[in-house]
């Protein structure tokens, strides 16, 4: 006699226990500490902070540990935590001119005021497995760089503690489209609080791209380079470093510094042939993410520029230029959930389909006879 399967509750509890066991692995191997994850898997922590939209290294490390290194799962954990946090207010726009620079490169000029600073980068490393790291003694011992901290060329004259953006050099000569700051009174969009409405503002688009899956944005950005929405990019500047975060408390009325965050900023310079109303000049694509994530910032800038096609009078022809396509499909927490929900039982829908297909087949057979 058939008895309907029962015991979902016990099965779930057992699944959780098994998961905890697999997460821990062999108990004779020392457990990972959050500090180890933060210090030695720092770029994974950065990615969880970026796509989790939550700047907190310790929580991101915890999420990575809990998710067994599955970064999309870790991002989900960070998001589900973030969603319950109260909003105290919005900070002032960060000033990346005032960044304490760790790395800064421009591909558009050989040298730039402030100099090119190579910093810590995988670029120019030979991707040879360093077997020395197996027992903790890599081929290159860690250490301080020389006193000029990786400057490629000699410093140009003093810059009064500021590091002007390379792109501003073009701006001064009117060779690139000007970019005016929004009024301070305009509220910045937040797609985690309000549903996206189309056409979306550039603020919402950039927020969406910053949170979007790195692989998704990378593929779209790459596609623009291969001709699917080509926009002739040059890496005007990529900079990584620390910036201060300022907030204006209502009771004070002036900005105070509430902390410091690491960000990666990318300014792309893109060709623009001009239109009936605008002379030929360069245009901009912008990328900004938490932590050190140049690949994400660069590809974000490519897709930002692609999404500006309508505003610049270009005919959209490719997915990267299609706002609905990009904004609706870039979020890996949404995508991962909906793809994996196919694991849930669908036997009622399937039964309906079975009934329909049997009816159609019976009718087709009757006609054939």
């Amino acid at each position: 006699m058939y008895v309907a399967v029962k015991g979902g509750e016990r099965a779930i509890a057992n699944a959780h226990r098994l998961l905890a066991e697999e997460r821990r692995g062999d108990p004779s191997v020392p457990e990972l500490s959050l500090t180890q994850i933060d210090q030695q898997l720092g770029l994974a922590v950065d990615r969880v902070m970026i796509e989790g939209s939550l700047y907190d290294r310790e929580l991101a490390a915890l999420a990575i540990k809990q998710a067994r290194g599955d970064l999309i799962e870790a991002i989900f954990l960070a998001r589900a935590y973030r969603t319950t946090l109260p909003r105290f207010g919005a900070t002032q726009p960060i000033d990346t001119d005032g960044m304490a620079i760790r790395r800064r490169v421009s591909a558009t000029f050989k040298d730039v005021p402030g100099g090119q600073i190579l910093g810590a980068t995988f670029d120019y490393t030979h991707r040879l497995l360093d077997f020395g790291l197996v027992d903790g003694h890599g081929a290159t011992p860690p250490g301080e760089a020389d006193s000029d901290a990786g400057h490629v060329a000699a410093d140009l004259p003093a810059l009064e503690g500021r590091m002007p953006r390379v792109i501003d050099i073009l701006d001064r000569d009117g060779l690139i489209e000007p970019e005016e700051p929004d009024s301070d009174r305009r509220a910045v969009g937040d797609l985690t609080r309000e549903p996206v409405d189309f056409p979306a503002g550039r603020d919402v688009r950039l927020q969406s791209l910053a949170r979007a899956d790195e692989g998704f944005v990378l593929a779209l950005g790459y596609a623009t380079q291969r001709g699917y929405g080509r926009n002739h990019p040059f890496a005007g500047e990529i900079r990584v470093g620390e910036v201060e975060v300022e907030l204006v408390p209502e009771e004070l009325g002036f900005p105070i510094t509430i902390g410091e965050i690491t960000v990666t900023e990318c300014q792309m310079v893109n060709q623009f042939k001009g239109s009936a109303t605008a002379p030929p000049q360069f245009t901009r694509g912008y990328g900004l993410v938490f932590g050190h994530a140049e690949r994400k910032a660069m590809t974000m800038a490519l897709v930002d520029r692609a999404l500006r096609c309508r505003e610049l009078g270009e005919t959209p022809t490719s997915p990267a230029q299609d706002e609905e396509f990009v904004l609706y499909h870039g979020d890996n927490v949404e995508a991962s959930g909906f793809v994996q929900h196919l694991k849930l039982p669908h036997h009622v829908d399937f039964q309906s389909e079975l009934v329909l297909i049997r009816t159609l087949r019976a009718e087709a057979e009757a006609r054939a006879r």
Binding site: A4, E9, P86, E194, F198, G337, Q340, H341, E353, L354
Partner: protein, 275 residues
């Protein structure tokens, strides 16, 4: 779970969602955009339904959660436990004892009563989505009541196959105005939507939409005069309780093609068997 508010969401968020629900009730079948939150369960697993339930549930509610008609499917168990932990409300499997029912893919066989609320989990809220992928376009089509493409699609199905090729999530016209997706319920359940005494709320979390069918609202499954809407029918009766005219689960009982049919609604079936 003391660190979290009653029913997980903060009160401001619940108010925002209740405002969306009120708007949805005022315009039956219209999809109201809302600031869907990221929930501690996966998108596609009922985040919209959970947010709607969380914003209307009170300490005196009695909650029932079903998935595929059953109270004991894993995701139904998981969602019921979520609300047990975050609200402490009483739960039940009995349709007639529940004040609030969250469901995925079914409407209970036991008739609903005035005062009850049913919350449907919705994966894709837009009935025109497979005909037009763009949200900007479909919103315009709804605004202008431009539903010709849907009727053409149904017509083409009939001319090609003799039937409308939609077995679940069969489109309906609500209150004579908006075409609506009833969520992936089998079309067998569509007639239960019409003039139902309960309040029917639909939540789509990932797509950030809420819509509603208020009590006693007309809900018509789209059809043609010469091709009226029909529902599924089984020749068998339930192998456990003997019920006919209910939605059946088909159970594969061996590897030789053996089948048996049982009620999909586990509560209905158990009560007929006198348990």
């Amino acid at each position: 779970m003391n660190a979290y508010n009653f029913a997980f969401l903060d009160e401001q968020t619940k108010r925002m969602i209740r405002r969306a629900i009120l708007k949805a009730v005022a315009i039956p079948g219209y999809q109201v955009p809302f600031g869907s939150r990221e929930m501690p369960l996966s998108y596609g697993w009922g985040t919209g339904g959970v947010q709607v339930t969380a914003s209307v549930i009170g300490p005196d509610d009695v909650l029932k959660v079903i998935d595929q008609g059953a109270d004991d499917t894993t995701n139904a168990v998981s969602i019921r436990r979520f609300f047990e932990r975050t609200t402490g409300v009483r739960t039940t499997t009995r349709t007639d004892a529940a004040s609030l029912i969250q469901t995925r893919h079914r409407i209970p066989e036991t008739p609903l009563a005035a005062g009850q609320i049913v919350v449907f989990q919705v994966p894709i809220p837009e009935p025109l989505r497979w005909l037009e992928p763009r949200e900007t376009e479909t919103r315009k089509m709804h605004a202008l009541e431009e539903y010709g493409v849907m009727h053409v699609r149904l017509y083409e199905d009939i001319t090609r196959h003799g039937h409308v090729e939609t077995a679940y999530d069969y489109p309906v016209l609500v209150n004579g105005r908006y075409i609506m997706r009833p969520s992936p319920i089998p079309k067998f359940d569509n007639p239960k939507l019409d003039r139902n005494p309960a309040l029917l709320l639909f939540g789509a979390g990932r797509e950030k939409r809420i819509y509603a069918v208020p009590p006693f609202t007309s809900v018509r499954s789209l059809d043609f005069e010469d091709h009226p809407f029909t529902i599924e029918h089984w020749d068998q009766t339930c192998a456990l309780c003997g019920a006919a005219d209910v939605f059946m689960d088909e159970i594969v009982v061996d590897d030789k093609g053996g089948r048996m049919f049982v009620c999909s609604d586990t509560d209905f079936c158990e009560r007929r068997r006198g348990r």
